[in-house]
Symmetry: C2
Subunit: 465 residues, 2 copies
């Protein structure tokens, strides 16, 4: 499995050099011009080699509803999502494959799947996603989405008295489930990781967060949650805790250097200081935040405060794609309208670093991933710079990040194993996958969600609409 | 050239129907199920037919610098652009072709090229772009970019005394040039239109605007300008006119039902009422507005005020792509963060209408273009709904607008002539174009603009940075 990429462009601090890159036993062994060829030779001419990006937050099975949910804010959108989510493991399998394929073909080598679990088939759901990611060969961080409160508890009560059905599974049973998943599937050396992933303050008790922290400490697991995605959640946190959600999560010990927090749209300056101090990572999902009208996360402020930021696509019914390059582009240029001083704006090279090293930091693997350097694992993406969408030739990283690259990923290696060659995913039959996705679905328009009809009036009242 | 598309999905008000579409002599003759085949038969199964979109504002030759310009606001970005713009007609030709190709392959059948003219070779530049668009077969609206003040006049003076070099060509000579272009190239029946296109209030005298209005009236030409793209321009208008730019343009008679205005980011409520009253069209260029930090145009307000809105990619060095579906997606979901009430948000079907009929209205061709209806010209795009990026099957328009469709355009007809077949542009050799774009360019990083160095301190002072 050793190989040497010859005459390939890599980025230096502010320029490019042409080098050879030698990979031995899954690790980058040498980076220099004119190396001897070890293993197979790969032609890197007119190509750019970058460390693989991390799709740092998604929900793979949402792909079954991409394009289907009308423009709605998160709280009503969720009701739509769950009204029409009759999943089975076959469907989970297909969209995990598809999420992996779209992530790879847009420069990602790692995916964090905040995996929606089929009630009553939780371990089977996890096993299915694990199987799909292993088949494709992408590095996977499977984060089973757990909660211990029922959906309506996620909307602030405002001035009204609200009661909510108890959640169908106890906190203890949920934590046992996750521990069992860790035992069965957590194999970091094989590129397969299980995370503790309470969905967020809107649907989780302190006991669940604390149980997850305990598991995280015991098994050295990363922690993953949604955080303050919407104004409604900001309101809810005040109702629940009498302080901000970040203050509360810090108090109960959930925030640390292994914690990645999706969205982080509605944070105070004090909250930002807490994220910096605890070394928590923000996962920016710009397309989802726009699509759901959640707001613009203050990413430039995070960067100025020293908070690590990475990018995610979010689930494909709030985006509605898994194109990581699109998320990186929009997540970079979006913030130029939030600060008149262009010296604070994110440069394309910074975007690349956020998407690769930033992603690795959040997942506690920055020592081994996220850069092209001797001793790092070979999670590498080779881009074809002769693609029409990357021409005329100018600055390759500028073209890749600010353009709309299509069909540009030539080859990918994860842990030194090639899983994309000549633009094609090698380990699975994508044509067969396409046919299966077609067969398992039906076109439609005009779906009506019963739950939205039930909760919309309350939502509008509480949000002052 | 007659043809019948069989068993194709088209959108009704809120659903889809499967029909046949008969096109005779470039015009839609019948739309109904089970028609007899007239001319050649086209298989529309598992495909969606939409009216072609309008790429309603771009500058084709900017493609030579896509990916190259660092994150800068418009005024400094422009200095970069012009420092490195040694164009020749060969280059103009290649990027007009490439702009047409990227527009087509993202659903566009019309392009408005606010064409940067090579000094001293103005008519040759126009002739070159006209030739390129005729070769591809796209419907073209060539809008030669004119001004009669020099570049530095576009930055507000603030408290300082500023003098500017006179522009190298007189207002009269510029107007004569445009009139000559109209005589030589304006052939609406052949899909080739010339527009009057003073760049904007920042670099044009009243005499130039008035001369353009006069030409527009005399030859029934559309009018095209930038308008209030940046805060600096808002400031400049106050300095120049003592009122808003919109008030001034109304006073001098430039605004009418044939006027399309690119950007419109910084308008007052009174300005919006003037656009509605004069029936002017806003061209929304969301990606450029983000990239240059210009701001978020108040598109939901425009729609509520009854102002017609269409979409543009803007030139490829401020985007840095010509993917119209990307501009439509971002230009639709971006505004969800500007208004908490989701009932005002743009739906995917509304996006389609803005991009097709909205574009046609602004170009004064809504009677013949912008919809699939009997009697309309056949500017049609057939999308392959079995593409991986449009699966699983849900709502086709939702998938197309909110997703990240790639390789989905199957066929395109403009005026009934097929110019894309099976995903390939038919009239030119795209592989040869790709090779030419490669040969005429060189990778680089770290360009330094002398003009930016000269004007940056003044810009920062005036903008309070």
């Amino acid at each position: 499995m050793n190989f040497t990429i010859q005459n390939v462009s890599i980025a230096t601090d502010d320029d490019y050099v042409t080098v050879d890159v030698q990979v031995i036993d899954g690790t980058i062994a040498k980076v220099a011009p004119h190396l001897e060829v070890v293993g197979s030779a790969v032609n890197g001419e007119n190509k750019l080699l970058l460390p693989g990006f991390v799709n740092a937050h998604t929900h793979s099975s949402e792909m079954w509803q991409r394009g289907a949910i009308p423009p709605l804010p998160l709280e009503l959108w969720l009701a739509e999502l769950y009204d029409f989510a009759p999943l089975d493991t076959e469907k989970v399998y297909l969209t995990a494959l598809s999420t992996a394929v779209e992530t790879l073909l847009s420069g990602g080598t790692s995916v964090v799947d905040h995996l929606i679990l089929i009630p009553g088939q939780e371990l089977e759901t996890i096993a299915t996603a694990v199987r799909a990611y292993r088949e494709v060969g992408i590095r996977a961080f499977v984060a089973p989405l757990i909660q211990d409160e029922s959906l309506t508890a996620g909307i602030p009560s405002g001035e009204t008295e609200q009661t909510h059905d108890p959640y169908f599974r106890s906190t203890t049973a949920t934590l046992e489930l996750i521990e069992e998943a860790v035992r069965q599937f957590h194999r970091p050396d094989e590129g397969m990781n299980i995370l503790v992933a309470p969905t967020g303050i809107q649907l989780c008790s302190d006991a669940l967060f604390e149980g997850c922290s305990e598991l995280s400490d015991r098994y050295n697991l990363c922690r993953h949650s949604h955080l303050l995605e919407t104004k409604a959640q900001e309101k809810l946190a005040r109702e629940k805790y009498g302080c901000t959600a970040v203050e509360h999560l810090k108090r109960i010990g959930y925030l640390d250097y292994r914690t990645t927090l999706a969205h982080c749209v509605h944070l105070t300056d004090d909250d930002i200081a807490i994220l910096a101090k605890t070394k928590s990572t923000v996962v920016h999902n710009p397309l989802s935040n726009l699509r759901l009208g959640s707001g613009i996360a203050p990413i430039l402020k995070y960067r100025q405060a020293g908070v690590n930021v990475s990018f995610g696509c979010d689930g494909a019914s709030s985006n509605d794609s898994q194109d990581l390059l699109e998320a990186i582009k929009i997540g970079s240029i979006l913030h130029n309208v939030t600060d008149l001083d262009y010296q604070h704006w994110i440069t394309p090279r910074q975007s690349v670093e956020m998407a690769s090293l930033g992603g690795a930091k959040g997942l506690n693997v920055a020592d081994t991933l996220g850069a092209i350097a001797v001793g790092k694992k070979a999670d590498l993406v080779l881009y074809d710079l002769t693609s029409l969408s990357l021409l005329p030739r100018t600055d390759p990283i500028g073209l890749l990040i600010l353009g709309r690259p299509t069909n540009v990923v030539h080859s990918i290696w994860v842990n030194g194993k090639q899983i994309v060659a000549d633009g094609q995913v090698t380990n699975i039959n994508v044509e067969e996958l396409r046919q299966q996705l077609f067969n398992h679905s039906q076109w439609h328009a005009n779906r009506k969600s019963q739950t939205v009809a039930q909760i919309e009036a309350h939502y509008r009242a509480v949000m002052g609409l």
